[in-house]
Amino acid sequence: MDVAIVGVGLHPFGRFPDLTAIDMGAIAIRRALADAGVEWRDIQFGFAGSYEVDNPDAVVALLGLTGIPFTDVYNGCATAASVLTLAANTIRLGEHDLGIAVGMDKHLRGAFNADPRLYACPLWYGELGHFLTTKFFGMKINKYMHDFGISRSTLAKVAAKNYRNGALNPNAFRRKPLSEEAILASPMLNYPLTQYMFCSPDEGAAAVVLCRADHARRYTDTPIYLRAATVRTRRLGAFEVHSPWLPIEETPGPTVDASRAAFEMAGIGPEDVDVIQLQDTDAGAEVIHLAENGFCADGDQERLVADGELQIGGRLPVNTDGGLIANGEPIGASGLRQVHEVVLQLRGQAGDRQVPRKPRVGYTQLYGAPGTAGVSILSV
């Protein structure tokens, strides 16, 4: 059974002191329902993702207590990819015909912190200051730049591109373009990454209405087909966040595994993809993920970025809505924000940031602690 997306909805990302995460989730769902032209009572099942909200399915209090199976999911930064995958599989297995996938979150400012023992790390690892995601991203891109000849200027160009795209996106958190010079001159957080090269935790919600592909045209003239949705965790030897040690053997990370599995499931290759959403926790992550997802060889990013190929008018448009850098990261919602953007792009509804030449295939990727990645591939 194939799966189609017939409605998408978003509550803008940013800071909203007067709204709870549940409020934003309900708004995103209502917008997705309206987009699909269905009522809440038509929805047969749901999956909801959040980090901060224990039971995001409590959103039914604002929508209607209809008794549907509604399952809550948390899977780190790959939460929304897991929500999407589970919702798609529910339809694929023939259990239900029409459902909702929603993500919502509302984080405090600043880097995430937690008890390292909850991540199978010793307490002293945290006491010493090692239990920190930003430090991992700094090390990973620093090594990558050394190994493959990527410059700091390329990191600044990638961040500047995402702020520029965010300025075109009315739903983005950061809507002010920033120059490469300002990005490089902002405070160094974890060498070589500066403050403006990182995304911030923030608030927001996104929702997607999915149905059996053979029912899609009941709801819309522009169904978008979910060709693949995969989640993978790290294998031994991958260079991962929160690792007090690594073995000598080296293995590709979970993004590579999730990406290969998704392309195989979809039966298409990276060369067929027209619009791309990548996890840009920081500008370096976007650079690395471009290669890890098969869109270029390691080191080619230097030339691709210099030539503007990752911009909206380029050959590989990446993070056309500004990505995490301009939207921030409400963990539960982030991956569905990516899907929302790809759906708008494939429908030709992305306004000022529309990719020209009618994109037909889109791609999304999430990555996060403790070494979990999710990929989806969508097509017209």
Partner: protein, 140 residues
């Protein structure tokens, strides 16, 4: 002043030539740090204590320019915070260990440079002792 380790069982202490204490799988041979009770490669549960080489090569690094969130970070914060280097050092082809570095200057740190284990001050504890931790410094 007494010098107490940040945690028991992660390096030999007191010692003239301290070593990190890891574990080695008696079935497949993989080396971990710190020691753990089960093998992450072959899932065997017979792990033996294994002292790690004191020297190795810098595999990856960054600088921690801001105080990490407390908790869990227990070191100096505010004006007392001093940026520190962090990296992975590959020890004798056995294991890569994440560690504090004695250098915090991007001009000094080079991928592949030779490093050696040292024990350095980390913070003062409430009883007036000095808490020490392992770190790696460039050789020579």
């Amino acid at each position: 002043m007494a010098r107490v380790p940040v945690a028991e069982g992660i390096f030999t202490w007191p010692a003239d030539d301290p070593q990190l204490i890891g574990s080695r799988c008696t079935a497949c041979g993989i080396v971990t740090f710190p020691s753990q009770g089960a093998c992450p490669r072959c899932a065997a549960t017979a792990m033996a204590k294994h002292l790690l080489p004191r020297r190795g090569l810098l595999w990856a690094w960054t600088i921690q320019h801001f105080p990490p969130p407390s908790p869990p970070y227990a070191g100096p914060t505010g004006t007392a915070f001093v940026p520190f280097g962090v990296g992975y050092v590959e020890l004798g082809g056995e294991v890569k260990v994440e560690t504090r570095l004695t250098e915090a200057d991007p001009e000094t740190l080079k991928h592949g440079m030779e490093m050696e284990l040292v024990i350095v001050p980390f913070r003062a504890d409430d009883g007036g002792s000095e808490v020490v931790t392992f770190a790696f410094r460039p050789v020579g």
